[in-house]
């Protein structure tokens, strides 16, 4: 069998950009040194909290969509989610972290942020 490997596309630049985007979703190395250890740890912890918060939010929206929450429950959920989001903003400010710094690629679920 004669093998002629083909990579064929009319839009090479678009594919390069998208593939680079996926590859850059996670840092290649963890930047850990004594000077920024606190920020590094805060980043790790806040990323995990953000992941859990987003999951809670999604679950709440699913339940609203399914009509399984009463009006009062929806309002309580709204208030809780809002307070959580505000608290996260506050913590990000304390540690000088931006939204994109807490991003992780969740594979088929997409990006966290």
């Amino acid at each position: 069998m004669n093998i002629n490997r083909i990579v064929e596309t009319d839009s090479p630049q678009d594919f390069i950009e998208e593939i680079e985007k996926i590859q850059n979703a996670l840092p290649k190395r963890i930047d850990a040194n004594p000077k920024n250890v606190e920020k590094g740890l805060a980043k790790l912890v806040l990323t995990l909290i953000e992941l859990i918060r987003k999951l809670m939010e999604k679950q709440a929206m699913r339940r609203i969509d399914a009509g399984s929450l009463t009006e009062e429950e929806i309002e309580r959920v709204g208030e809780t989610l809002m307070k959580l989001e505000n608290k996260m903003q506050e913590l990000k400010g304390v540690f000088g972290l931006k939204d994109e710094e807490l991003n992780i690629n969740l594979g088929p679920l997409g990006d966290l942020m």
Binding site: N2, R5, I22, M61, D65, E85
Partner: protein
Amino acid sequence: MQARKKRSRVSQMALYAYAIIDSNSKIEGSISGLEGACVYNIPYRDIGVAVSELNEQIQNINQEHILKHEEVVEKLMQTFTVLPMRFSTQFSQEKDLLLMMQEYYGDFRENLDKLRNKVEFGIKIIWSAETIKNRIIEASKKCHANVAPATLDNSPENPMRNTDHRSRDHISNGARIFVKEKFEKYKIDKEFQDEADRCIALLDDFFSRFAAEKKLEKLKSDNLLLSAYYLVEKEKQGDFKEAFERAKNTPGDLKYLFSGPWPPYNFVVLTKKPDIFTPLEILKTMGNTSF
């Protein structure tokens, strides 16, 4: 085996493995591997491992190594059914390699049988996530009542609005707006995902009729609608390519990338460590452990 040196006298040397092949015979013709060393077969029962010798183990694999590895696997693929190994799979001794073969022989044999006369093709498709989302937002504006449940709408026109003053005391208007916005975003995201599913189902229909197996990855990024791998019998390659051309020529704003034929990297399945390692990762782990 003419290329094999007396390894016992050169202890720091290593064996670099390229692929498991469905043959225990000598590799005909000369294939040049890493460091220009000749690639040869180390047989185990009725199969073998294509290897070449290194003066010392490679610690940091670079692009040149990867391209050479791929070139060797591609050449082997012309003659044999191959299970390509992960880049940088190295063994310090031949007996380590044979132990690995003994351990995984059943799996290797099964995979070689499954992948005989088959090759892998890759298809990637990009759509404009922004255009799709804008379209969804426009559509949702037109039928706004369907987007947010009535309970989230507290306007005076809404018959379901909350008129219980005792509970309203507890209600933060901010929270109500917050949850309404979140819900609208959730609905748009959900519709976006559903649209991706519909689109992928249509596209996959073109390709899967000529494929023995497939692996589909949806929305690895918002724009990368589909990353798909299809295992195709060698004699159906032409049909598969034609199916791709038909899909590509269908009117629309999608952008396509087609690649292959590749060794079947994505279709090797080990039963001993399901869902944890690819076989190549197992081999790498073993290769890095000097046992």
